[in-house]
């Protein structure tokens, strides 16, 4: 029992917290605690500096054409989904922002650290970070690193010893997930948001990462690591991109999200239209999608606005008939059997849909987007009310047909 004595009238409670950065497992092949069959021993090494990591991410994001012999071979991936670009096979490349956020979530950008567990590995020289389940290095490469796995088409030893090779191997897995999942938008590898489904699959195609899973808060919004509200893996990665560890790690990008009403089926994510939602739980406010800065993208894409054209880059929001993968079966019990995506094209007209919902008494039409692109919920309630009132007035004044 622990008595928490009030240090003041307010009652101060000190809550301990564990530092993720301090966590440094090294379940090396030779460890007596290696219960998952990790095949490769930890390799001594010094973790790259921040600047060195930036160079590594820059190279890896450009794919095998850039890394040459310094990474494994990766087959081509699909680009285009007929909306409008037809599907073609292209050399893989990856948004560096995505790689940085995944690596931060997986390892805190650490290939090497001084182990603090298991007991027989504690201390000593800095060496490969190896998770209990044989996740190796910065990308926490697991597949192929265990006794039970078939021989991989990459060099296991280099996965343990070389940060660039490790990260490149992680992208090999990510590319496989890209191929195995359905299109998002027009399936452009250089668009960060189009990796939503592949990022989900990177963590395993499990329902725990389904945004419609009722265990997650319906108002969770964009994942913020400093709050750490439970969220699906891909939302955690996307949230990290918006909430960087520091400005020196990467610049914040306010990513767009797919409509949760489209994503959460009984299978893997279906083909999805261009993501335009302002958060995983808010499709009233809109956001643009983003080309990766490392792949020639504009860091300031056009703003779709809450009353303007939906979707950046002219993202067409329409019915998808496949491309990389086939559409899964229609969700059960979907009424008249009509694919709900038939409704989407109208969304491109803007976020005001109150006329379509007039039969429901409690649908409020104001999206309350404030000047400056921030949501009303981030301001004080009075400011939000006044801004919302002004916005409603303006919208009503300009709601006549064009």
């Amino acid at each position: 029992m622990r008595a928490l004595v009030a240090a003041s009238a307010a009652g101060v409670i000190a809550l301990g917290g564990a530092s993720a950065q301090a966590f440094c497992p090294s379940y090396s092949a030779s460890s007596s605690s290696n219960t998952h069959g990790c095949l490769v021993d930890a390799v001594p090494g010094t973790n790259p500096t921040l600047a060195e990591w930036q160079d590594i991410f820059d190279v890896v994001s450009k794919g095998p054409a850039a890394w040459g012999e310094h990474g494994p071979e990766i087959g081509n991936i699909g680009q285009g989904c007929g909306k409008p670009e037809p599907l073609e096979s292209v050399p893989p490349r990856f948004p560096c922002e995505l790689l940085k956020a995944i690596a931060m979530a997986e390892s805190g950008w650490r290939q090497f650290c001084v182990p603090d567990r298991p007991e027989d590995q504690k201390g000593g020289a800095s060496r490969t970070i190896i998770a209990f389940d044989c996740g190796y290095g910065v990308g926490q490469v697991t597949s192929g690193m265990r006794e039970k796995d078939p021989a991989p088409n990459y060099d296991r030893q280099r996965v343990a010893s070389d940060p660039l090779y490790n990260l490149a191997t992680g992208t090999q897995i990510l590319a496989a997930k890209w191929r195995a999942t359905n299109c998002v938008g027009d399936n452009q590898p250089s668009k960060i948001e189009h990796w939503y489904a592949a990022t989900w699959a990177y963590n395993g195609l499990a329902y725990v990462n389904n945004p419609a899973n009722p265990v997650y808060d319906a108002n969770r919004g964009v994942y913020n690591p400093s709050v750490n509200t439970p969220a699906p893996y891909q939302e955690k990665v996307f949230g990290r991109i918006e909430h960087p560890t520091s400005p020196d790690h990467w610049a914040s990008i306010e990513l767009a999200y797919p409509n949760p009403g489209d994503v959460g089926t009984t299978g893997k994510p279906p083909a999805l239209p261009e993501p335009t939602c302002a958060s995983p739980t808010d499709c009233v406010n809109l956001r643009a999608s983003h080309l990766s800065f490392c792949l020639g993208g504009d860091p300031d894409p056009e703003d779709p606005g809450s009353g303007g054209q939906g979707g950046a880059g002219g993202g067409t929001i329409g019915v998808d008939d496949g491309g990389i993968g086939e559409l899964p079966g229609r969700p059960p019990g979907s009424g008249d059997g009509r694919d709900t995506r038939d409704d989407w094209p109208s969304r491109g007209r803007g976020s005001e849909r109150s006329s379509e919902m007039s039969s429901d008494a409690y649908v409020v039409s104001c999206s309350c987007e404030l000047p400056g692109g921030r949501k009303s919920s981030e301001r004080g309630p009075i400011a939000a009310f006044l801004a919302g009132l002004a916005l409603v007035t303006l919208r009503r004044a300009s709601s006549s047909p064009r």
Binding site: M1, R2, V5, A6, S8, A10, G11, V12, I13, A14, L15, G16, G17, A180, G204, L205, Y207, V208, N210, A212, N213, P214, V215, Y216, A218, N219, G221, N224, P225, S226, V227, N228, P230, N259, G261, G264, T265, T266, G267, K268, P270, T281, D282, V284, E326, P328, P331, G333, S334, T340, D343, D360, Y362, V363, V364, S376, S377, P381, A384, F385
Partner: protein, 384 residues
């Protein structure tokens, strides 16, 4: 930013807006500072607020949760009666047993890349060490306490990862799931129900039946499961797999929940399901999923219009009361006091820690719950 988010709603509700800082302050520090709201001097509190059981966990990566009993509105002296360790971060959710001072909590304990079945059920009470009653519990779920004090949890084991072919066909991993009835003293487990699928979410209980929302590769449904013999009664044999935020209306023998519109993926609705017939009626709808219904006394239902506009009551008469004690945001009703005079509520804004408070159904005034500023708070329920 964080502190304004917490303080502003109460300060504004209490007419203290001018005292707010004009600029956001720094993000919360790991060591907690008191998250105490100004006490309303003018606000009448005719009935003394009841005691509540709270679970405090440090955010963002706290690995210890403390059980605290508190009577909001009084001197916020608070004493942690026990605490337990779990994995850093993650959700911790609790439930009290019969307004007693035993609290059951579920928290992640097993470090896994997929956290699905890595949680455990704990028994917490003053003067005793915490007891782990069950493992392999689904992450971020809440225990369901039955009338006799036994506890229902969703447990399971991971199935095989889908093959490449299955993956291309759209399959997710299918798990072996059970609904287990746990003895509150010994942890002895009895399986009431077995299910092969993705999730079997405990939506509530009424009489001798647990209400379970199940999702499998080819179907989603809601069933009632007899908590004694495990007999299954279909309520909604096939629904869209978007149901959430369930609340049982005992008086009217119905279940409120949020679901997606069947034809428009941008619309969410609160439905009321008759627990005798399974018939569903749409009550309200909005454009966000956070409508978060909760049954209220007299046949009404609390919800959040358009998923962001705060506590609102739709009375059985059809009258709508917009209460919004903390303004915009989502108010999730965690429970009602036995006398029906108080609601325990979590007020949330996206991407921020929620703010807990009590709401007087007599005066319509919020009463702040004292909590450390950087703590994740869960209201386990009312206690004696």
């Amino acid at each position: 930013m964080r502190r304004i988010g917490l303080l502003a709603p109460f300060a504004l509700a209490l007419g203290l807006g001018a005292a707010l800082p004009k600029k956001p302050t720094a993000l919360p520090q790991p060591v907690a500072k008191p998250r105490v709201m100004a006490q309303p001097k003018a606000a009448p509190i005719p009935s003394a607020p009841p005691r509540i059981a709270l679970l405090f966990t440090g955010a963002p990566e706290g690995d210890e949760t403390t059980l605290v009993f508190q009577r909001p509105g009084e001197e916020p002296h608070q004493e942690g009666v026990t605490s337990f360790r779990h994995l850093p971060g993650g959700g911790v959710k609790g439930a009290v047993a019969h307004e007693g001072e035993v609290v059951f909590a579920i928290a992640d304990v097993e470090k896994k890349r997929d956290p699905s079945w890595g949680a455990a059920l704990f028994r917490l009470e003053a003067g005793r060490e915490p007891i782990t009653l069950a493992d392999r519990v689904y992450t971020n779920t809440r225990p369901l306490v039955l009338e006799d004090g036994s506890v229902l949890v969703q447990r399971g084991r991971e199935g095989e990862e889908p093959s490449e072919e299955e993956s291309l066909e759209g399959r997710l991993r299918v798990d072996a799931i059970t609904i287990d009835r746990i003895d509150p003293l010994t942890g002895t487990s009895r399986t009431l129900h077995q299910f092969s699928g993705y999730i079997a979410f405990l939506a509530g209980a009424l009489d001798n039946e647990a209400l379970v929302y199940r999702v499998a590769p080819d179907n989603a449904d809601i069933v009632a499961i007899d908590v004694n013999d495990g007999r299954v009664r279909a309520l909604a044999p096939s629904i869209l797999p978007f149901a959430r935020d369930f609340s049982v209306d005992e008086a009217n023998r119905s279940l409120f929940f949020t679901e997606r519109d069947e034809r428009n993926s941008q619309i969410w609705a609160v439905s009321r399901m008759n627990l005798a017939t399974g018939a569903r009626t749409r009550i309200v709808s909005g454009r966000r999923m956070a409508l978060v219904p909760h049954a209220f006394p007299g046949g009404g239902v609390a919800f959040n219009p358009d998923g962001e506009r705060g506590l609102t009551i739709l009375q059985a008469s059809g009258r709508v009361q917009s209460l919004r004690p903390l303004g915009d945001g989502v108010d999730t009703v965690r429970g009602l006091s036995r006398d029906g005079k108080w609601a325990a509520v979590m007020h949330s804004l996206p991407s921020q820690l929620p703010t807990p408070y009590l709401f007087s159904l007599e005066t319509h005034q919020p009463v702040p719950i004292s909590a450390p500023e950087s703590a994740r708070v869960d209201i386990a329920g009312f206690v004696r």
